[in-house]
């Protein structure tokens, strides 16, 4: 049970919050969790079974955005930057759990799964990562960079007609992130970026299961527009920090670094990618 007196409920992190920069020592500065009422400032609804949130010393930073919004690129760059600043970093993302990550890949490949089952498999994947990857990291003072989070999963369920309260109830025991960034791009831009990656658009990216259009392009645009609307709803409710995902990689990265530096008490936001990552810097 949380009963400590730090500085601010994690969820209400706002643009105006200024963190007094503590001396940059190896044990990372306290993120932001705390205040006295129950688990809900750590969790969306209720505490995860058997977990004591007061042990958290790391920060959970979420990057959300549709396919082609540049999330993965930004996360690679942020990880390098944070490591160069001396922070340990763990990443998480969809379908990366040991428990069911591969099973979901198979279900998607076979395309033989109904919407609710898929939503619940994703929830299983999510909580397995929370319990075996994210929480252990946060307990040891590690920064967690999440490539997508519950918001994508909720949005996907809702656009497929699953009740919104049902979806958010499902994730009531998810940890509230310290920061949630939303890389907002137009579906048209995302389409081009995604197409260039693989010279194709996948069945699921285009929401083909929803029978929106036989034309792949329009199916993608309609599907991603529906998802985007869900994000707009959630952005207000959950204090997303919205960034223009159409800006250049260095420009978006700079904004991300500024907010994260503020959160973690890092003084300098200077960063130039190493040669290994310089190809991303365009």
């Amino acid at each position: 049970m949380p009963n400590q007196e730090k500085e601010k409920p994690a969820a209400t992190v706002t643009a105006t919050e200024a963190v007094a920069p503590p001396p940059p020592s190896p044990p990372p500065p306290k993120p932001a969790p705390a205040s006295e009422d129950s688990g809900t400032q750590y969790f969306f609804g209720e505490p995860l079974v058997g977990f004591d949130p007061s042990e958290i010393t790391g920060s959970l930073i979420v990057i959300e955005g549709m396919d082609g919004s540049g999330r993965s690129t930004q996360i690679m760059l942020l990880q390098e930057w944070l490591e160069s600043e001396g922070f340990a970093v763990q990443t998480s993302g969809l379908r990366r759990s040991n428990l069911v990550g591969r099973d979901i890949d198979e279900l998607l490949a076979k395309n033989a799964v109904t919407r609710l089952t898929l939503a619940l498999m994703y929830a299983t994947d999510f909580f397995d990562q929370v319990e075996h990857r994210i929480l252990p990291a946060l307990r040891s003072g590690t920064m967690v960079l999440a490539d997508r989070y519950i918001f994508t999963l909720i949005g996907r369920g809702v656009v497929r007609g699953i009740n919104r309260d049902y979806m958010s109830g499902l994730y009531a025991m998810a940890l509230r992130p310290h920061l949630t960034f939303w890389l907002n791009v137009r579906p048209e831009t995302a389409f081009g970026r995604e197409f260039r990656k693989a010279q194709a658009i996948s069945y699921w990216e285009a929401g083909r299961d929803m029978s929106l259009s036989h034309d792949l392009y329009w199916s993608f645009i309609r599907y991603q527009t529906m998802i985007k609307r869900e994000f707009e709803v959630m952005a207000k409710k959950h204090n997303f920090i919205e960034l223009d995902g159409e800006a250049s990689v260095p420009a978006v990265n700079k904004l991300l670094r500024q907010r994260i530096a503020e959160q973690l008490g890092i003084r300098s936001t200077k960063y130039t990618p190493s040669s290994a990552l310089s190809h991303l810097w365009r």
């Binding site: 209720e46 995860l48 079974v49 069911v100 799964v113 089952t117 498999m121 049902y166 109830g169």
Partner: protein
């Protein structure tokens, strides 16, 4: 516990008030013509034997029916096996994986068959999850939400057997209890048999709490098999218009 009287259960044609609405739909007062019969109870309560005999009775009579078991969707099988072998499962993921399994059966078998005017028999249903996962520490209303999409049964038989009877039936017939089956993940005891007993006691307690709220028909699991079956058949015949599921001689309804 003695058999509960059944006379005043609503007939199946009255829309039963659903506490478990389907996601995405305004919710239904039972928008399907089929009927759903469920058996619940702790391990060793005799429920599977009784449901099997009920199924034989109906099969022999030629009724249209489908039988479904808890935790049996092929879709989720490999994940469940892996989770158990490597002991990756926590109360939350254990619960979610079972919900995914159930959702798959619900969306692909149970709902379509109920829509198609079948009698569906289920060996364990969402109440198993409510009892077991609550015993593992999951928040009850989170669980209720999780299974909101499940159609409400027409009859839920709860086979109640005293803890010792049920536990002994299992322990005498099984060489070794499995880790999760024995509730070892709860850390109640290092001894598997003892852990199993403590876990089952919690589950029994959770089942008992649902008797009224979920309109269980309580049956005494210690009665002789044939007598119990007779009771069960009478209750089914009185609550469900079985003619509807009889062989389609004159076709149509």
């Amino acid at each position: 516990m003695e058999t509960q009287d059944v006379a005043q259960k609503p007939a199946r044609t009255e829309p039963a008030k659903s506490t478990l609405p389907q996601p995405g739909r305004p919710v239904p007062s039972r928008a399907y013509p089929g009927a759903l019969i469920v058996v619940e109870g702790t391990d060793g309560s005799g429920k599977s034997t009784q449901l099997y005999l009920l199924k034989r009775w109906l099969e022999i009579g030629g009724y249209r029916l489908h039988f479904t078991e808890w935790n049996s969707s092929p879709l989720v099988k490999s994940a469940t096996r892996r989770g158990k072998q490597r002991r990756l499962l926590t109360p939350t993921t254990f619960s979610l994986l079972h919900a995914a399994d159930f959702a798959d059966r619900c969306e692909r078998q149970i709902m379509p068959l109920l829509q198609g005017d079948y009698l569906v028999l289920a060996d364990r249903y969402v109440y198993t999850a409510f009892a077991r996962d609550t015993a593992r520490g999951c928040p009850p209303h989170w669980l209720r939400n999780l299974y909101r999409f499940a159609p409400v049964p027409d009859i839920t038989f709860y086979f109640r057997a005293p803890l010792d009877v049920a536990v002994n039936r299992i322990l005498s017939g099984r060489p070794k209890l499995k880790y999760y089956e024995a509730g070892m993940d709860l850390g109640l005891s290092y001894d598997r048999a003892e852990s199993f007993r403590l876990f089952q006691a919690r589950i029994l307690e959770e089942y008992d709490k649902m008797v009224d709220s979920d309109s269980f028909v309580v049956l005494d699991g210690t009665m002789p098999v044939n007598k119990l079956q007779k009771q069960m058949r009478e209750i089914v015949a009185s609550k469900i218009d079985l003619k509807r599921f009889a062989p389609r001689a004159e076709e149509g309804e």
